[in-house]
Structure formats: structure tokens, C-alpha cells
């Protein structure tokens, strides 16, 4: 399935449901690949592929700990998404403020 630019930014990276599961899991703390595989009941190659995408956009980082590699979430890479939700909220807030102002006008017209 053609899906352009999945690796270009955090938005695209977390648009994939399995990757979002990984993000949620790592939100609870650092995890090894095996722990992620177990938690997701997904085959390891698939999990590794998703981790690679998340790493490329900086949503996760990893470090070596003995023989295993541990993954953790990098909150700053999620900031554009957080900002987007805030913008969305601001858009609705402005729209409903204008509705409110308009309601006042309508009420004034109805009760001269």
C-alpha cells in the first residue's frame, strides 16, 4: 500500500495505529524491544520496523543496555502534535466566541 512520506514528520509517524500503540506504551516508561513485542503481540520484525520509523522522526530514542536495546519517548518531538491540538482548540474557541457574540446581537434584536 502506497503511503507517502510516513517518515517525514512526527504527525505521519504516529498516524499509524501500531506506532501509536508503541508511543502510548513508551509513554509509561522505557522499554526493551522484547517488552514492546510482548505488549503488542506483534512479530518482532514488524515492531522493529515501526521503531525505526519513530526513531527517524525523533519520537523515540534508544540506548544500549548490556545485550539489549532500550527505547524511550522523546516528548519534544511530539510537540508539533500538541501544538496542533492547541490550534484546533483555538480555532473552535474563536468560532464559538463568534457564535456567542452573534447570539447577543440576535437576543438584542428580539428584545428591543
Amino acid at each position: 500500500m502506497a503511503r507517502a512520506a510516513t517518515t517525514t514528520d512526527a504527525f505521519n509517524a504516529v498516524a499509524e495505529p501500531r506506532r501509536r500503540l508503541i508511543v502510548e506504551l513508551l509513554g509509561e516508561g522505557e522499554r526493551s524491544v522484547n517488552e514492546i513485542v510482548d505488549a503488542m503481540s506483534a512479530p518482532q520484525p514488524q515492531v522493529s520496523k515501526h521503531l525505526k520509523v519513530l526513531k527517524e522522526v525523533g519520537v523515540v530514542s534508544s540506548r544500549k543496555d548490556g545485550r539489549q536495546r532500550l527505547y524511550r519517548l522523546d516528548a519534544n518531538a511530539l510537540r508539533p502534535i500538541h501544538d496542533w491540538v492547541s490550534e484546533f482548540e483555538a480555532m473552535w474557541s474563536d468560532r464559538l466566541d463568534r457564535l456567542d457574540t452573534y447570539l447577543d446581537e440576535v437576543k438584542r434584536k428580539e428584545q428591543p
Binding site: 519517548l73 484546533f88 457564535l99
Partner: protein, 167 residues
């Protein structure tokens, strides 16, 4: 006469589940008036567009099975449209309609408007429910002009919980 409360900026947006978004706000007006202002095109034209995104199409056929279509003119992106079908109409407390963002025609959501009036204050809630994971995922990428589609679930919470670590 009651004191008017300044409610500007009081809309709340939350992401209650993986497929939903919830927008809530209180208004000092009866539900009947809010319902009229929400569903009569002569009213909607006065508030739905933005100062730099004027509304150029506002069609509302307020019957079960009737359709609606809104188009705003964006200074950079050109015309941006949304349309849907009314599914349930229980004036003035409830309105259920489908919504398709025309930039993402395969992604249809179901929107539930409820207006609950109490002591002259009406609480509006708009709950947007996505139909499939695919649509939901597509809408993540459609940007803010996708209007009411967002599916970021717990990311906002996670981010909030991690802010301490990151800064």
C-alpha cells in the same frame, strides 16, 4: 437581571477515546435559540466562517436524510468544503449528522450535537465519532482545515505527563 459572564475562550476540546473528539462550551442563551443559530443558514453565515476565511456556501436542508454543505474561502488553500446528511433531529436538544471533509472524501464522521439548557445556560457539546481506523488515521494528516477530525487520543496526555522530563 443576571450578570453576564464573559465566556470568551472557554471552549474545551478533549479526546475521550481513540476515535472521538469532544468540543464543549456554555452559552447564556436558551437551547432553542442556539439550535436556530446552529441550523439556520441565515444565522450560520454570520459566525461559522472566519474573518479571513469567509463562508461562500452555506446550504442546510434540515430534515432527516437532508444534506448540508459549507464552503469557506481560504486565502492560501482556496475553497475548502464540508458536507453531510442529517440523521436525527430532536429540536432543540439533539442533532446527529454525518460530516465529510472534502479534502478527504473517504473519511466520514458522525457528529452528535447536544444542547442541554439549565437555568438559562445552555451547555453545547459536539462529539465527533470516526467510522474506521483508516479514516481516523487519514484525518490526522488533513491538518486543521480538516475541521472536526482529529484522532490523537492519548498523545496529548502523554505529552503533558512528559513535559517535566523534557524541559
Amino acid at each position: 437581571m443576571k450578570t453576564t459572564i464573559d465566556r470568551s475562550g472557554s471552549a474545551r476540546v478533549t479526546l475521550p477515546s481513540d476515535t472521538e473528539i469532544l468540543i464543549e462550551r456554555d452559552f447564556d442563551a436558551p437551547a432553542e435559540l442556539l439550535f436556530a443559530v446552529w441550523t439556520d443558514p441565515e444565522h450560520v453565515r454570520n459566525w461559522w466562517g472566519f474573518p479571513d476565511h469567509p463562508m461562500i456556501v452555506c446550504e442546510i436542508d434540515l430534515r432527516v436524510g437532508g444534506s448540508w454543505r459549507y464552503v469557506v474561502e481560504h486565502p492560501d488553500a482556496g475553497a475548502i468544503g464540508w458536507h453531510g446528511i442529517y440523521r436525527e433531529i430532536e429540536r432543540p436538544g439533539r442533532l446527529v449528522s454525518t460530516e465529510v471533509f472534502e479534502g478527504y472524501p473517504d473519511g466520514e464522521s458522525l457528529n452528535y450535537l447536544t444542547l442541554a439548557e439549565r437555568d438559562g445556560v445552555t451547555t453545547m457539546s459536539v462529539r465527533v465519532v470516526h467510522q474506521t481506523k483508516e479514516n481516523r488515521d487519514g484525518h490526522v494528516n488533513s491538518g486543521m482545515e480538516g475541521g472536526m477530525q482529529v484522532s490523537l487520543n492519548r498523545i496529548d496526555e502523554i505529552l503533558a505527563s512528559l513535559q517535566g522530563d523534557a524541559e
